[in-house]
C-alpha cells in the first residue's frame, strides 16, 4: 500500500519539478503518437471514405477485413512490423528499428484499422438525404465526396481522438519497436513498464498518473466533439 501513497507524492514531485527523464518520456510519447496519427489519418481517412461512400465489387469483403483487423493482437502487430524494419528485413536499410519513426510505424499500423472502419461507418451513418440534397443541388462526384466528408467531420473527429487514445497508451508495440532507449525512444508507457520491472512502483505510478492526465485531456476533446456533433 505504501507504494501507492509514495506513487502519488512522487507524481506530484515529478510534475512540479519537471524531471528531465519524465519530460523526455512525455516528449517521446507525444512525438511518436502525433507522427503515427498523421500517417494513420492520411492513409486511413481516404480509405475509410472510399469504403463508406463508394460502391465497388468486393466492398463488403474489404469492410469485413478492416473490421476484423480491429481485433488484431497488438503484440502480433509489433512482431510483423519488427520483421519488416529489422536491419535484416525488407526495410532494413532505413535503420528504423529502435527509433521513434520505427515505433511510430507500429503505432500507425495499430491505429489504421480504427480509422478506416470507423470513418467508413461514419459515412455509412450519414443521412441518405444529405447525399440526395448535394446531388440535387448539382454537386459533381468530387464535390459530393468532399462535402459528405465535411458533413461527417465531428464523427471523424471522434475517430481521431479514439485512435489517439489507443495509440498513446500502447506499451507492447512501443517496447518492441522502440527498445525503450532512454532519452530516445523511452515513452511514458515503456518507462512505466521499466520502473515496475525494476521494482520502483512509486515511480511507475507517478508516470502512470501523468499519462492518465494526458488521456483525460484526450477524452475532454472527445466530449467536445460529441457535443458539437449534436448541435
Amino acid at each position: 500500500m505504501d507504494y501507492l501513497i509514495n506513487g502519488f507524492s512522487n507524481a506530484f514531485y515529478l510534475l512540479t519539478h519537471m524531471d528531465a527523464a519524465t519530460l523526455s518520456a512525455i516528449y517521446a510519447t507525444i512525438a511518436s503518437t502525433c507522427y503515427a496519427m498523421a500517417a494513420a489519418l492520411l492513409l486511413g481517412v481516404p480509405l475509410g471514405f472510399l469504403l463508406g461512400h463508394c460502391s465497388f465489387p468486393g466492398k463488403r469483403a474489404f469492410r469485413l477485413v478492416s473490421d476484423t483487423l480491429l481485433a488484431f493482437p497488438t503484440v502480433l502487430i509489433g512482431l510483423l512490423v519488427y520483421a519488416f524494419i529489422t536491419a535484416r528485413g525488407p526495410l532494413g536499410e532505413y535503420g528504423l528499428l529502435f527509433t521513434l519513426p520505427g515505433m511510430a510505424i507500429g503505432q500507425a499500423v495499430l491505429a489504421l484499422p480504427i480509422v478506416i472502419s470507423w470513418t467508413a461507418q461514419a459515412l455509412e451513418d450519414l443521412d441518405p438525404r444529405c447525399r440526395e440534397t448535394l446531388l440535387t443541388l448539382g454537386a459533381n462526384g468530387r464535390q459530393l465526396a468532399l462535402y459528405a466528408l465535411w458533413e461527417c467531420r465531428y464523427a471523424v473527429g471522434m475517430v481521431c481522438v479514439t485512435a489517439f487514445g489507443r495509440v498513446i497508451t500502447e506499451v507492447g508495440v512501443a517496447m518492441m519497436l522502440g527498445g525503450n532507449i532512454r532519452y530516445s525512444t523511452r515513452t511514458m508507457t515503456t518507462a512505466i513498464a521499466l520502473e515496475t520491472s525494476k521494482g520502483d512502483f512509486a515511480q511507475g505510478i507517478a508516470l502512470g498518473l501523468v499519462l492518465l492526465l494526458m488521456a483525460f485531456m484526450v477524452n475532454l476533446a472527445l466530449a467536445f466533439f460529441k457535443r458539437r456533433g449534436r448541435a
Partner: protein
C-alpha cells in the same frame, strides 16, 4: 472547411521534423545489453564519461541475453555487453561476433525464505539445488533465456538435475524483480544477480521475507564481456567506433570507475579486463 486540413498538415510536418530530424551528436553506437546492467544503474553511471572520453553517443536496448544476441545477429545492434559466456562463445564461433573481451564480473546468489525451510544455508550450489527440490521447498526461475536464466540452467546441468517437470519449479518468464517478488510470495528459492538483490533488499527494508542462503561458490561467478558485431556480416557496423568502445571498457581508468560504482553503498561489479 479546409482550415482543419491545414492544421492536420502542420501537425504532420511538425511530427515528422520532430521524429526524423537527425541527431546533432557526432557518432552513435547501438549496444544490446541485458537488464541487469541497466537496472543496476551502471550504464547510466558510466555513460557520461564514455561520451566525454570517446565522443560517441551510446544508445542501448536492455533485454534478456537471448534477445540481445538475436538482435545482434539481425544487425540491429553494433556491440554487445552481455553475461552468458557459453552462448557468447557460440555466437563468436558462428561468426556473428568478433573481438570478445571480458570486462567485469559480479556474482549470483541463491536467495530463499529467511527461515530456510530446505536447510541449504552454507551448502555448495549443487547441494543446495538438490535439497531445494528434494524437500519440495519451491524454486522460481526467470524462465526467459536471460543471462541469469542461462546461468541457472547451467547450474542445474552441473548438478545433473532436470527441474522442469518438478511441480515446485516455477518458470516465471519475467524480469528479475518480478521473479523475486514471486519467490517472496510463494516462500520459495530463486537465483538472482547480486545487483538486483541489493536493490530488492533495499526496497523491502526490514520487511524482506527473503535472505541470501548460498553465495561465494565459484559456480555463481557471472562474467560480463563486450563483443563487436561482425562487420563482415553486418556492414552497418563501424569497426573503428566499435574498437573505441571496447578499448574504453578495458581501459584502466574505466575499470577503476567500474570498481568504484556502488549500489546502496555496496560494490557491485568487479573489473577483470586484464585477467
Amino acid at each position: 472547411m479546409f482550415r482543419f486540413s491545414r492544421f492536420l498538415l502542420l501537425a504532420c510536418a511538425a511530427g515528422y521534423m520532430v521524429c526524423a530530424a537527425p541527431v546533432l551528436a557526432a557518432d552513435t553506437l547501438m549496444m544490446a545489453t541485458t537488464t541487469s546492467t541497466q537496472d543496476s544503474g551502471l550504464l547510466e553511471y558510466l555513460e557520461p564519461a564514455f561520451k566525454q572520453e570517446t565522443g560517441i553517443e551510446l544508445k542501448w536496448v536492455a533485454v534478456g541475453t537471448g534477445k540481445a544476441l538475436e538482435i545482434a545477429k539481425n544487425c540491429d545492434a553494433d556491440v554487445l555487453l552481455v553475461h552468458a559466456p557459453s552462448a557468447e562463445l557460440e555466437f563468436v564461433k558462428a561468426g556473428h561476433g568478433v573481438d570478445r573481451r571480458q570486462v567485469m564480473y559480479n556474482d549470483f546468489v541463491i536467495v530463499g525464505p529467511a527461515a530456510d525451510p530446505a536447510g541449504v544455508k552454507g551448502q555448495t550450489t549443487a547441494g543446495a539445488l538438490k535439497r531445494i527440490l528434494d524437500t519440495g521447498a519451491g524454486f522460481v526461475s526467470r524462465g526467459d533465456q536471460s543471462g541469469t536464466h542461462k546461468a541457472e540452467q547451467k547450474l542445474w546441468q552441473q548438478s545433473n538435475i532436470t527441474p522442469d517437470k518438478n511441480p515446485k519449479y516455477f518458470s516465471a518468464g519475467q524480469g528479475m524483480i518480478s521473479t523475486l517478488n514471486m519467490a517472496a510470495e510463494k516462500q520459495a528459492y530463486a537465483l538472482t544477480d547480486r545487483g538486483t538483490w541489493i536493490t530488492f533488499a533495499d526496497k523491502m527494508g526490514d520487511k524482506n521475507p527473503l535472505a541470501i542462503v548460498v553465495e561465494g561458490d565459484k559456480a555463481l561467478f557471472n562474467q560480463y564481456s563486450v563483443i563487436t558485431v561482425n562487420p563482415a556480416q553486418c556492414p552497418k557496423v563501424n569497426p573503428a567506433l566499435a574498437k573505441k568502445f571496447e578499448d574504453w571498457w578495458v581501459a584502466p581508468a574505466t575499470q577503476q570507475k567500474i570498481a568504484g560504482y556502488a549500489l546502496k553503498g555496496k560494490q557491485l561489479f568487479f573489473p577483470n579486463a586484464d585477467k
